[in-house]
C-alpha cells in the first residue's frame, strides 16, 4: 500500500508538486489571516516556509536543490525551475502598461548599471576585509555578490580556484534569499509601491529569483516591471565583471 503510494507520487511528480504547493499556499494564507490579521502577506509566509523547507530538505539529503532532492518531491524542482518561472513571469506582462515601462526606461537602465557596480564593490570590499589580496579572487567574490551566475562565470573566465568560485556562488545565494524574504519587510520604507520604483528595484537587485519572489510577496501587480529590468542584470554583470571591473580591481590591488 505504502509502496504503491510512493510509486504513484513519484511517477506523477509534477502533480504531486501541485498538491504539495497548494497545501503550503493554503496553510500560509490561513496563517496570514488568522495569526497576523492579513498584515503579513500570505505569499510572503509561503515563500519563507518554502525556503525553510528547502533548508530542511538540503540538510536531510545533502543535495543542492532543497526539497526537490527528496525523491517524492522532485516535481517541485520542475514546477519551480527556470522554465515555469520565466513562463509565468512573461504571463504577468499581459496587462502591464507600456506607458509605465517607457516612463521608467532610462531610470531602469541606469539602475542596472548602478546595481551591478554597487553589489560588485560591496562584495569586493568584503573579500579584501577577509584578507584576500589576489585580484582574481576579489573580482570573483565581488561578482558573486552581483548574482550567483555572474560569480562562477567571472571566476571561470579569470581562472579562480574552485574554493573561491564556491564562495561566490554562496554569496549570490545569500543575496537572492535575502531579497526574497526582505523585500516585503522594507517595501514601504523604500517606496516600492508603483511601477516606476519597481523597475528601479528590479535593476538594482537583479537576482531574477529574488526579485520574482520579493515582488510576489509585496504586490504581484509590480512583477512585470521589476522583472523587465532584472532580466538584463545578469547579462550586464557577466559582461562587466570579468572585463572592466576586473581591470579596475587589478589596477587598485
Amino acid at each position: 500500500m505504502l509502496d504503491s503510494l510512493g510509486s504513484v507520487l513519484t511517477a506523477n511528480g509534477l502533480l504531486t508538486a501541485f498538491v504539495f504547493v497548494g497545501v503550503l499556499v493554503w496553510f500560509s494564507y490561513e496563517a496570514s489571516e488568522r495569526l497576523t490579521a492579513g498584515k503579513l502577506h500570505g505569499s510572503a509566509i509561503a515563500i519563507t516556509l518554502g525556503l525553510l523547507l528547502a533548508w530542511a530538505g538540503g540538510h536531510y539529503t545533502g543535495g543542492s536543490k532543497g526539497l526537490a532532492d527528496i525523491a517524492l518531491l522532485t516535481g517541485i524542482g520542475t514546477l519551480g525551475g527556470a522554465m515555469f518561472r520565466d513562463f509565468a513571469i512573461v504571463a504577468t506582462a499581459y496587462g502591464a502598461q507600456i506607458d509605465e515601462l517607457r516612463k521608467a526606461g532610462l531610470a531602469g537602465a541606469l539602475s542596472i548599471l548602478a546595481g551591478v557596480l554597487l553589489s560588485f564593490v560591496v562584495g569586493a570590499v568584503v573579500a579584501v576585509a577577509f584578507g584576500y589580496s589576489d585580484p582574481v579572487a576579489i573580482s570573483t567574490i565581488g561578482a558573486g555578490a552581483v548574482t550567483y551566475i555572474v560569480g562562477p562565470v567571472t571566476g571561470t573566465a579569470l581562472g579562480a580556484s574552485s574554493e573561491v568560485i564556491a564562495l561566490s556562488i554562496a554569496a549570490g545565494l545569500v543575496k537572492s534569499i535575502l531579497v526574497m524574504v526582505g523585500t516585503p519587510l522594507v517595501a514601504t520604507r523604500i517606496g516600492l509601491d508603483n511601477p516606476f520604483s519597481a523597475m528601479v528595484y528590479g535593476g538594482l537587485m537583479g537576482t531574477t529569483s529574488g526579485v520574482a519572489a520579493g515582488l510576489a510577496a509585496t504586490d504581484p501587480k509590480l512583477v512585470p516591471y521589476g522583472a523587465m529590468t532584472a532580466t538584463f542584470y545578469t547579462g550586464v554583470g557577466c559582461l562587466l565583471a570579468p572585463s572592466l571591473l576586473f581591470l579596475c580591481v587589478r589596477a587598485l590591488a
Partner: protein, 123 residues
C-alpha cells in the same frame, strides 16, 4: 481556444530566449541577456497589435491569465528548491557579502526613483 493563448505565451517566451541568447553571444557573454524582458515586450506588442481583427477571444486570454495566476505557486516551488543549506553553511564571508550587497541596493531604490522622477516630471 485556450491553447491559442498558451501557444502565444510559449511562442513569445521561446523567441525571447532565442533573442536573449543571440544578444549574449553578440556581446561575448555566456548568459541569456534580457530574454524574459524581450518576451514580455513581444507579448505586449502582439496582444496590442492584433486588434481588432485578431484580438484574442476570452477563452484564449484565459490561457494567459491561468499562467499569470500560477505565478505565486511557482515562486513558492522555486523557493522550496533553493540551495538554502549551502548559502547558510558557507561561512561569514559569503553571508556578509550577500547581506551588505542587498542592504546597499535596498537603500539605493528610493534614491534612484527620486532622481529618475525629478528628471522626468510626468513620471
Amino acid at each position: 481556444m485556450v491553447i491559442y493563448g498558451v501557444a502565444l505565451l510559449a511562442f513569445c517566451m521561446l523567441v525571447g530566449a532565442l533573442a536573449g541568447d543571440a544578444l549574449g553571444r553578440l556581446v561575448g557573454v555566456e548568459a541569456n541577456v534580457g530574454g524574459v524582458g524581450i518576451a514580455m515586450l513581444l507579448l505586449l506588442w502582439l496582444s496590442n497589435l492584433s486588434r481588432p481583427r485578431l484580438q484574442l477571444a476570452l477563452p484564449s486570454q484565459s490561457g494567459i491569465h491561468f499562467w499569470n495566476a500560477m505565478y505565486i505557486p511557482i515562486v513558492v516551488a522555486m523557493a522550496a528548491s533553493q540551495n538554502v543549506r549551502a548559502a547558510l553553511s558557507s561561512g561569514w564571508l559569503a553571508i556578509l557579502a550577500g547581506t551588505l550587497a542587498v542592504m546597499a541596493s535596498f537603500a539605493m531604490v528610493p534614491l534612484l526613483s527620486r532622481l529618475g522622477r525629478r528628471r522626468n516630471p510626468h513620471a
